[in-house]
Symmetry: C2
Subunit: 181 residues, 2 copies
DNA sequence: GTCTATAAGAAGATAGAC
DNA sequence: GTCTATCTTCTTATAGAC
């Protein structure tokens, strides 16, 4: 069954925004790939920013769910490792990863979008769950780098003949190592 | 003594490109801040891309120097730690850091610029110096995250009342910890 | 080196027909 | 839901005077 037009706009926009950049991608291009005119897009999304907001929503909802979960848990090393594990699980879902990639690559262009701002907040709250006030600065940096590692490890794929699975597995191993006191 | 116009264009462009994004910053804005007309910019730089190339040049030269140095050294743990240390030293120089920040934030918009491409190459070669073929994948990821940590630690400054010096010192400590086997 | 003036085009967005 | 046609505004870039 054919997806609805709204979803297809999201898919095409996400791909083009990521490949070419947000500002560099015009509504004309999106419309052409979809096989309609620019004006048709305006029936589904009021503005270009609305398309971004709808994409950000896909990720924010996931992150807020994760944050809500961790707040029900006791603040133990066990919980922190489990949070890293769950974050890694989110990150292997293609849709989540694509949206994340789009946002990483267009930080500046997106800086004024309210939904993007909300997402940054949630990410900061999530990393804050990884340490306690009594931890040293070095420990806090190390813990934050655990989440970063899950994101950044895909760089490794460039010059190596490794499968995605090997990289995912190894970067989780490294991330958990960074969580050690 | 007043700097020359070319240098002032570079400074203003670098700031606006970083704050607002590369595509979102027009030559008109740069000219207005400089107090001249758009046309005057074209005397100093043939195109907008030329301004970017001149900015990238500032960083590429530094990185190539670092790469040239490390290639004269024996491939020992000692050399690798020294490379991390030297990279950290580069990163505290304001001009280098500003250009780096600009590039991090505008990855997609800059993807087709040849100078940017060269910079990515040099960065990859630098990280390749941090490990040997016999190292496990986890070790290689961990070592690459050492350089990443030096970049990313500035995120820590957001919600804390820490001095830049404390953060720099602690992130170097973490980076060197990540270099351990 | 900097100016005015202008070209040539693409962008986001809207009105109204079908 | 999608179209054609159009508006307005902005962009990069150039020609030629001073």
């Amino acid at each position: 069954m054919r997806e609805d037009t709204r979803t297809r706009i999201q898919e095409i926009a996400l791909r083009l925004f990521t490949e070419q950049g947000y500002e560099a991608t015009s509504l004309r291009e999106i419309a052409e790939e979809l096989g309609v005119t620019k004006a048709a897009l305006y029936y589904h999304f009021k503005t270009k920013e609305d398309i971004v907001a709808s994409l950000a929503e896909l990720r924010v909802a996931d992150l807020e769910e994760l944050l809500a979960w961790v707040r029900t848990q006791p603040k133990t090393p066990e919980t922190r490792r489990e949070l890293v594990q769950r974050y890694a699980d989110k990150l292997v879902q293609p849709r989540y990863r694509e949206v994340t990639r789009f946002m990483e690559r267009n930080q500046t262009a997106l800086r004024d979008h309210p939904k993007i701002h909300r997402m940054r907040e949630v990410m900061l709250e999530l990393t804050a769950q990884l340490h306690e006030p009594s931890d040293t600065l070095a420990t806090r940096i190390s813990r934050s780098m655990a989440l970063f590692t899950l994101h950044a490890a895909k760089w490794m794929a460039q010059d190596e003949s490794l499968t995605e699975e090997e990289i995912t597995k190894a970067s989780l191993e490294v991330a958990l190592r960074f969580m050690e006191p």
